[in-house]
Every structure is written in C-alpha cells, then in structure tokens.
Subunit: 346 residues, 2 copies
C-alpha cells in the first residue's frame, strides 16, 4: 500500500491538459457546454493524473454533500439491517453515500446523531424516531423521511412503513379460519407507539367483523425473547394443558413463547398455536417453523430512499406510504374445529 503525498486536484489536471481549471470543471460535470474534443482530452488527463473528485469541496461549494443519514434503533437487529440494506441499494444506484447510526432507543443518542448529521451537511435523512421525542426532529432543519410506526404522530412529514391494519386483518382472518377465534394477544412494550397501533388494528378489525374486541385476552411483553418467555409462562399458568393460540406482536416474543411452551412439555402447534409478526430469519429454523406475518423490510428501506429523494428535490407534497405485509405459513398454526375451540375457552 502506498500512500499518496498530495492527491491531484482539478488544477493539476488543468496543467496537464493545457487548459484552465474552469474547463476541467466543465469537462467533469456532464451538463455543461464544452467542445467534445477538449472534454476527451481533459478526461484523459484526469485519468493519467489519477484524479478523483473531492466531494468535500464539491459539497461545500454546491451545498450538496451527496450523503444521506440513516438513524435506526439497532443495525444489529435483523429487521433494521434489512431496512438499511434496502436504503443502501437504492442510494448506491444514485451515487449517494449512507451515514448509518444506531440510536439504541435512546433519546440522547438520537439527538447526538441528528446533530452529527447536520454537521456532516447530509442532504437528508431517513429516521426511525425514538418514541415521543419529536422536538429534536422539529428542529432538524433538513429534509427527512420517517420509517416505522411512530410516523403516525408526525403528520407533517413523509413516512414509509408497513400496513399494520392489513397485516392484522391477514393474521386474525387466518387464525379464525383455522378455528382460533380467541387468540391471546402478546403485546409489546407499553410506552411504544407500535403497541398502540397493533392494538388499534386488532380492535378495528374485530368491530368490522362484529366481534367484541374486549373478549380477546392479552398479555404484556417487551418485544424480546425473554419477554415472550415470561408472558408464555403466565399464560400457561392459567391454561396448564395448553389448547390456546397466540398472536404475538413480533417474532422474537413468538419464538420465546414457543421455547417456553416446549420446555413445559407442550407441543406446538397442537397444544399451542403461535402466530408471529415481522418475518425474522430465525423463524425459518425453529421447530416447527414459525408462521408469521412478514413485513417488507427491504422494500421499506428502498421506498424510504425514494421518498427522501422527492423530499430533497422539493417535488410534490409529503407522502405517507404503507406497504402491504404477507403471511408466511410454516407450521406453528394447527387446524382446529372452531366449535370445539370455543367450548374450551368458555
């Protein structure tokens, strides 16, 4: 590896090609009026000099840094990693670089990251905000697009997320059609907006189907495997023999519930049927495979980038995009006779 002493500039190229630096700049930018022959000569000189554009200087002069920020809770979380990948793929197509930060669901870290993005003079940002902390966003001062469920609280901005209502309809209808008409709802952390959205979608669908939502039993979790295990223990304490079904608000809790059920000697799906929500890769390898509702994570990342491009260009109004989820049937849901199920609950 040899480290260059001084990287060649536009002026070096100009000297080499025997033209002025303005001409080099014109040759390098594609929309300018320049003689094709001199352009070729300049490009050749740039190649032999090993010239590479300094994006810092470009950004300073033009006000466009060619970078965007991505602030997500945790890049090590498979869902957010997929989102990042989607955004990255699109960014690469447009020659944009991605600055990635993990907020870790921490308010202060998020604020610091937003400041760092402003100081880096990114052209915009894709953000999954930490719940109820929108003051920083309000002051962000740059174009941005929200992803995830918290977008609801921020009607003034573009957002991309999954269609929770459609997903819940899909899940509940599938449960009911298999005879699970009174599934336990395994809910997430109480303060989170995602929890409220999930619950509301369930209620709305119940009412649309003429069912009293209040009859559905619920249990609290915290979106983690351990939370799922603990909730399952509490449920099984009330139903020692099983014969229950679970609709978990995310896959990790569903997998935790599955582990606990097995440890207590119960069979999934026969004794305990479980439906997850997310579509994490681990659900493919559990036994039985976790039937779940898959969120289109990568597509969310892609669309978020597209929305941000629109936002940066100033075209169009703010848009709210909800991408549909799909059911992944794998084997954690048993078929039950609806009548039999109803009798056992009563």
């Amino acid at each position: 590896m040899r480290r260059l002493e001084r990287r060649p500039t536009i002026i070096d190229v100009a000297r080499l090609a025997g033209v002025s630096k303005s001409t080099v700049a014109r040759a390098l930018s594609d929309g300018a009026e320049i003689n094709p022959k001199t352009r070729e000569a300049v490009l050749a000189a740039a190649r032999t000099a090993g010239y590479e554009r300094n994006h810092l200087a470009v950004g300073m002069r033009s006000g466009r840094s060619g970078m965007i920020g991505l602030v997500i809770p945790d890049i090590a979380n498979p869902f957010w990693a997929e989102v990042a990948r989607g955004a990255q793929d699109r960014a690469e197509e447009h020659g944009i670089s991605l600055l990635v930060f993990s907020s870790n669901w921490d308010h202060d870290r998020e604020a610091r990251h937003l400041a760092a993005l402003r100081q880096a003079r990114v052209d915009g940002a894709i953000i999954n905000p930490v719940a109820d902390s929108f003051d920083d966003l309000d002051r962000f001062g740059l174009p941005f697009v929200l992803i995830g469920s918290s977008a609801e609280r921020f009607p003034e901005t573009s957002s991309v997320g999954s269609d929770i209502a459609q997903a819940v309809r899909l899940g509940l209808d599938n449960l009911v059609s298999r005879g699970h008409d009174m599934p336990y709802l395994l809910l997430g952390t109480k303060a989170r907006i995602a929890r409220a959205r999930f619950l509301r979608a369930v209620y709305d669908h119940c009412i649309a189907r003429d069912v009293d939502p209040a009859v559905l039993p619920t249990e609290d979790g915290d979106y983690t495997v351990e939370g799922g295990r603990a909730a399952m223990s509490r449920i099984l304490a009330r139903h020692p023999g099983g014969h229950i079904s679970i609709f978990a608000a995310n896959d990790l809790m569903a997998l935790g519930a599955m582990l606990t059920a097995r440890e207590q000697g119960l069979n999934c799906p026969d004794d305990v049927s479980i439906l997850g929500f997310d579509g994490v890769p681990a659900g493919e390898f559990s036994w039985p495979g976790l039937t779940t509702i898959e969120k289109p994570a990568r597509a969310i990342g892609r669309r978020a980038f597209d929305s941000l491009s629109e936002e940066i260009a100033g075209r169009a109004d703010h848009s709210r995009i909800y991408l549909p989820c799909r059911l992944l049937e794998r084997g954690s849901l048993a078929d039950r006779a609806p009548v039999q199920r109803r009798r056992e609950v009563a």
Copy 2:
C-alpha cells in the same frame, strides 16, 4: 418542520459576539490560547445563533473529514451487522461517522465503493475484501484495516479477525470428547479463502493430535442454507440410518443440514449430531438449539475501529489481531461412546 434559509456560519457568530472569525475558531477548538471570558462569550453567541460546525469545510481545510468507511459483504447478514454495530459504537465514542457499504461479494461493487470512499475523503476504512481482488486495495491510498479471513493474503496491513485455529481446536476437541471422532466436515464455497483457512486449521489440529487428517470425510457446501441441505442429502444417501456427526463451516449450512435431517425422519442429535460455526441468532431457536462456535463479531468491529485509529494516527506498526471464539453448547451434539462410534464407521 421548518427549513432554515441559511445556516449560521462562524462569521455570523463573530458578528454577534463582536469579535473576529479567528477568535471564534479559537473558542471552538479546545487547544487554542484564548481568554476564558471571551471564549464563554463566543460560545454563548454560538448557542443563541444556533451555530453548528460545517464538517465539510473543516474537512477541506484540515484534511480530516471525521468519517470512516465500512465495506462489508452484506449489512443484512447478521454476522456483518454485528460487526458494523461494534465499529459504530466505537466510532460514536470518538465522534466519527460511519459510511457503510455492502459489496455483495461483487468485485466491481467493491471497487466502486472504494472509489466513493476516496472521493468522500474518509480518513480510513474497515474492509472485508472480496476474495482475490487486492489490486484495488493496493491502490486505495488511504489507511485501512482488513477484517475476516482474507486478511491472510495481505501481510502488509493491519487486520482483525477471529482465531480460526483456536475455534477449530475447540470444536474438534469437543466433538472427540463426546465420541464423535470422525465428523463430516461440511465445507464452504471452493474459491473462498475462508474455506482453505478452516481446512488448514483442521489439518493442523489433527496432526497435533496424531491423527491422519485424510480420514476425515468432507462434503462441499456454499455457506448457504440450501447448500447445507443439499450436502446433507448427499451424506444421508451414503448413511441412510444416520449415526453421523457434522462439523459445519458456518451456521447457515448447519441449520440447513438440521432441517434436511429432520425432514428425512432422523433425530438430531441422536441420529445426526451437528456442530455449527458463527453464532447466528437463529441457532438459538432451532430444535434442538444449535451447538456452535461463536465468533466475537461485535468485538471484531470494535477492535477494527481501534486498529484503524492507530493506523490513521500513524502510530505503531501494522497489527494482526485474532480474537478467540467460544463454544455455545445448546443441544445438537449427542454424547456417544467413542468405541461404539469407531466400530460403526469401520
């Protein structure tokens, strides 16, 4: 969201505080000689003006952009996502921003990403290079640190990776102590350096233990679940009743092998014992849980950042760091009497 018309500069702050821009610059940089009282006044003026340093300008003038690049095969892959998280955590502590790219094991994409990093004037990069494509790296012209197994081919640079030799020793000794003295080696993609490193570690350990390495049966895979399934099918065609053990070169193949074994009516671990390598989260949820050798992914990311810092500072020589792996016992390995096992193989 209000978008500011013009962001305040150092000059605006200077006007507000009634000093020159040089004084503001001094107040903002911590090592300079300045009267504490005027510094306070300047900082107050900066606060009221809502001033934020323009890192593009700083980078241009000082030659330090405050950004580093991370080029990994796939940010959506759980192992690399963990590495990214480790690097990110450390970067955040140092006030450095991370530019993340996925090479997708593609030579051209990698080359484009390296060019993008140079143009962004990053201070350095952490790279997992695509196999046998080091020409681009040679020309990279910036400090960088390699991560992963391909670092071996590049003796002139710093690198951070897991200690494959130690990991293989751990795995083989554990297999042997449980009576699996002739495990199938489920290998990865042929061209990859990782495959050769794994094999060499196995051979070295066999020779150290006075075993002829040639007796160990091998089967080819490609580091994917499907590859693991296919390899397992071929193995089971030769051993219909099972009674074999597998040492897979990564977890995905191990999980694929486990699925196929179960689909063919075999029990894991009694009929087929499986040892994985990586420590992906999915291994926790399989049934049985996948016993595996966990690579310290997050620590690798952290150490890679530290090494890069050294490299950028120009301190010290290039370092090669191999972090130890640890065995995660979960249940995919049965205990067998060694004698019985030997008879069956013969």
